[in-house]
Symmetry: C2
Subunit: 275 residues, 2 copies
């Protein structure tokens, strides 16, 4: 007899999807209070949920190579529907279109590329930012009213949340050791969520909180399943900075490094802000 | 009497789309021999064509903020159909899903975010790469069998195409002054196409040509229409480098700078390669 075990880690509860009977590629989910942000859910958990829809789709080929998520409108607390459609399947790659909707209204769109990897020449051209070992850095969280951040153990190496005393900074870089709290073995959805773990870079430059939200998020996965599994539940080194702020938007580029120095993902996003 | 003038610049010919009668959001196009690549069209011209479908859609709101194009399969020489669908329209932003198909088979998918910009605090945190004025750099093209490259005047400041004598390089950076040939005033489609003007970074690192192709391309537009218009037909400074090569893929990040030092776009892509 197969025993269905309900997930217990808050992350697994948040990204849980049930296939809708008779509608292939359609999944039902529910927002999780544990991952609430100021308005709607934390973007990282939404991105992870959309990736998960592809991961549990019966036609899925291989592992994630890239993912782009567009945050089109707010997600209300409650149930939602995710539809994942393979737009094209090749010999070693597969392309997906994904939508999240509530009551028939699209809130989030995404595209993803999955594929099988082959051994090739390899080189990591960029370097990880300098950082002491995770255990040597004090854990410091977000203000308590940001629910989702309580699910991450963050150890800031540079660019922690601004304080009134610190004021604005000339550089928008944040670097931190981070992992799920409670600890959880890293997988593709968790890595996806970590790509959105950085608070808006405008906060750091201007030294204050302001309305801001991700418009579009892209993740390039460099880790395959084997490299991810080797991370176990250790902290990863996450770093991000902005390139350009102006006319209501800024872009941000980030990197997620394994504890062993392997580059697991690079990530980019465009963020709306109001000053 | 309204006179319809056919486009004459090769770029405008290549991205021309005709609305399909009775099918809102569906446009007919045709590949252009002038922008042919090794297999199918140059990715930049395809990305520009998809953006153009939104730009000429009657429901379009504002200017492009971000674009992600996924190259799902080869585009054959000949006719194609582009469908652009607004997935969500907000007060100041609009989200789009776009597909290019031939004979009903999807070859390319995309999502785009458009919107109206507001004046806000602005800051460009990164710096343009060092480069002498464009006129002081000799124009040097691609091998003549790469048709699309003949439509760009390229002046390499760093990282020109590898030669057998030069061999592999430790750094994958290419920086060049580049503009359309013949010169053409910069607009959003032309800027989009320029974001894909870099030859595959693996060529530079390994010092040789090898099979490679963009899988997914993202553009973040920092320039609004006014800043673009100010570029006229001057060369822009384009720079790109890879972060990580491995297991058959690498990622590349690039920047397009105006002649006056303004950051016009940042761009990222994931590229397939075979060594």
């Amino acid at each position: 007899m197969t025993q269905i075990v309900a997930p217990t880690h808050p992350f697994d509860v948040a990204v849980e999807l049930s296939p809708e009977l008779g509608a292939p590629g359609v999944f039902l989910g529910h927002t999780s209070p544990a991952y609430a942000n100021m308005v709607g859910p934390f973007g990282g958990i939404t991105a992870a949920t959309l990736l998960r829809a592809v991961l549990q789709h019966p036609e899925r080929l291989g592992d994630p190579l890239s993912l782009t998520v567009n945050f089109a409108g707010p997600i209300a607390d409650g149930a939602f529907e995710v539809s994942a459609r393979p737009t094209r399947t090749n010999r070693s790659t597969q392309h997906w279109s994904i939508e999240l909707a509530q009551d028939g209204v699209v809130t989030t769109t995404a595209t993803a590329v999955f594929g099988n990897r082959r051994d090739t020449w390899a080189s990591t051209e960029i370097e990880a930012p300098p950082a002491p070992p995770a255990d040597d850095v004090a854990a410091a969280g977000f203000p308590d009213f940001i629910a989702w951040a309580r699910n991450y153990e963050m150890r800031f190496v540079a660019g922690e949340l601004p304080t009134p005393e610190a004021g604005g900074q000339p550089d928008s870089t944040t670097t931190m050791w981070v992992r799920d709290a409670p600890p959880r073995a890293l997988d593709f959805p968790a890595l996806t969520s970590l790509c959105d773990v950085f608070y808006p870079r405008a906060f750091l430059r201007l030294g204050r909180y302001l309305p801001a939200g991700t418009v579009s998020l892209t993740v390039y996965f460099h880790a395959d399943a084997t490299l991810l599994a080797a991370q176990a539940d250790d902290a990863v080194l996450a770093t991000a900075r902005a390139q350009r702020f102006g006319k209501g938007y800024f872009d941000q580029s980030g990197e997620i490094w394994g504890h062993d120095g392997a580059l697991l993902a690079t990530t980019h996003q465009l963020v709306y802000f109001k000053d």
